[in-house]
Symmetry: C2
């Protein structure tokens, strides 16, 4: 029986093995930040690292820094670290470009590998950029390639002999529901399809075992749970068995076997380096590395334990104190079926989230009626959740929400 | 008659209308930095700006910064500034991704626009990533698309009814030779081809008039003359007349008309915003903006006058003091036929550049025999060039270079 009082919350915090990590982040006073699933908080070590890279390296050593400070290998070196969070071998992950660009290059690579098959299969309501990129990639590729979108409950049964690639997001950005990666990857392989997993809402929040589930490709986001800063570079994973065959359509010079020979012909570098393209932002990579280092230090298994405890506790609080106030759990009830955020639905979700933010409880809203609350075990306390639900309860008691839903709503951005 | 003494160099510096800009950069003491064409120096205003964006915005305002600090519009806002340097309308330029990724998306867009034509025509010895990207883009596009490479002197005559796109670099990265943009763009248009200009070695160093020459597309680099930092984001230009027709194959959510509606279907934002894709690095964009602001403040016309004066002075020094020492001018002699660096060839160019660098004169080497010296009017002094050529003369006098060329050379990176 969980003690749902404020004292109980504080007791949970005092027993938390990760409690000291909160001190490693810059967090505004008196704010309950539950949006690390959208933009992770700033590690305190990031600013000194940016000073070092900018003033000491760029400013002082200038062009020589590519060798002296090993800038040239930072996409590989940070990729190697991220590999440990997602169950990949060290030479299967590289940091480069954005999630959108990495989705594009892997979708095209898969279409070429599967030249007898036309379809990229995905889920309606998948994170939109995944679908948008598939639209553009299939159009650019031509040759009958097309994006096929089916509802979530029909995904598994829709994999057929036309399916070149199955593209799914492990943790759903709205509902937090997870796919059983092993099961669905196996089903896809059994029907001859490749699988690309978008780990944007899982990497850094929960363990992923790409090698264990025999995933073909994966991409993920650097600015959510990896705490790499706004627009941090993305990572991509290509299973070693595909390295020699899966081509990188965006074949820029950093992916060349000998970039400084400056020859006219492209010869891909062997292994994961062959998936690089243009010159990466060294400053952005440095910021991302600081975030990743913190996660490795804390340990993804310990993070996962706390993620589940936080989410369970939040659900218990909402069920206990907000029952009959019009909110419903829009995430799975079972902690092993969801990621690191909890979504609540309410017909007035947009206005209620605005009211929460006005009282310094920061979550976010996704149309039409979803309020998201993200839990980031390195800096979210049980006490934060207690405060959040206490404020939520006060807001929900407002009589406005008992009226019919507003006809016109301002646009959320 | 130029006074080629050190006193003469100092006199030129004292008359230089841009002389105060050197104080706006962090430059290591006793180093002559002539590689701003590869990595521009660090503006003093960059670090405070990074502190502001990181600590004040990301750290304190967190996710709210996308609106409060207008992060969402920074690719457009910085693009608008760069537009003033390259003769484009404010809504024709956007900052996003890397030069390689932008080349890719515009090559594919051009191939689709020109569906009756198969060839991307370029120059052998063009900057390699331009050719590598075309290789990957034509392969991804299929439908008979191919990259056709001809020697520089045959480019103009090779434009024919198969040419979908002519891709050229305005200033050659090795020789510094420029193309006459107006003339060759007109010739391409007359034969039904579109033209994509790579401005990586011109933007920020000399005026470019994209609208004046009726260019269709352009890309350029943020980390050379724009002083945006290592791996700074790139910019792309699409002439307004193509906005409604030229599709962005990498169609990510930031290019969507209503990205926060989270709908399944991609609807491109009107105008240049439709060429965005994934979430951009806000930290990298902030650093780039500082570099661009400095150039706008100094004025591209004044920069151009000094660029030419520096290059002419350097050539005069080399011709006067290094005659008969085995170096040859590998750049055009006429200042209106070249960009902002001067290349010298020497059979022992690699070793000579290493010797220069060991004496703190930083240029770079490009195989097989090219030594490059880049001039960046905001921080390069005439005195720097005098010192550089004085050191060069001492190095060239070394008896080693009179022996046959070394058979084996270590790889330069």
């Amino acid at each position: 029986m969980t003690d749902l009082s404020l004292t109980g919350a504080r007791a949970l915090d005092s027993q938390d093995v990760l409690r000291t990590y909160r001190e490693r982040f810059v967090l505004p006073k008196d704010v309950v930040y539950l949006d690390g699933n959208s933009l992770g908080a700033l590690p305190k070590a990031t600013m000194p690292r940016l000073v070092e890279v900018t003033e000491q390296q760029w400013g002082r050593d200038l062009i020589g820094s590519w060798n002296r400070h090993d800038w040239i290998n930072s996409p590989i070196n940070v990729g190697r670290k991220i590999a440990r969070l997602i169950g990949a071998a060290p030479d299967e992950v590289v940091v480069t470009d954005t999630t959108s660009v990495n989705l594009f290059r892997l979708v095209v690579a898969a279409l070429e590998l599967q030249s007898q098959r036309s379809d990229v299969l995905s889920e309606s309501g998948n994170f939109p950029t995944d679908l948008y990129i598939c639209e553009g990639a299939t159009r650019a590729f031509g040759r009958g390639a097309r994006l096929r979108i089916v509802s979530r409950d029909r995904v598994a049964d829709s994999i057929d002999s036309s399916t070149a690639l199955l593209l799914l997001t492990h943790v759903h950005y709205k509902t937090s529901e997870t796919y059983r990666m092993a099961e669905i990857t196996e089903a896809a392989h059994a029907r001859g399809a490749l699988v690309l997993w978008d780990l944007s809402h899982s990497a850094g929040a929960m363990p992923v075992d790409l090698n264990g589930v025999k995933a073909d490709f994966a991409v993920g986001c650097g600015y959510k749970y990896l705490n790499g800063g706004p627009g941090a570079p993305s990572f991509l994973y290509v299973a070693k068995r595909h390295h020699a065959r899966a081509f990188n359509p965006i074949s820029g010079w950093h992916g060349h076997a000998r970039p400084f020979d400056f020859t006219d012909e492209y010869v891909p570098a062997p292994g994961i380096r062959g998936y690089l393209a243009g010159t990466p932002s060294i400053i952005a990579l440095a910021a991302l590395e600081v975030g990743v280092d913190l996660l490795l230090e804390a340990g993804i298994e310990r993070i996962n334990v706390k993620t589940r405890a936080l989410a369970d506790y939040f659900v218990a609080l909402v069920e206990s104190s907000c029952a009959d106030l019009g909110v419903e759990l829009a995430s799975p009830h079972r902690s092993d079926e969801r990621g690191s955020h909890i979504s609540l639905s309410h017909a007035h979700g947009f206005e209620i989230m605005q009211a929460l933010i006005a009282q310094s409880v920061i979550g976010d809203f996704r149309a039409p009626d979803i309020m998201r609350f993200g839990f980031t075990p390195l800096y979210t306390r049980f006490e934060d959740l207690w405060i959040a639900v206490d404020v939520l309860r006060q807001v929900l008691l407002d009589e406005r929400w008992r009226e019919p839903r507003f006809a016109v709503r301002s646009t959320v951005t």
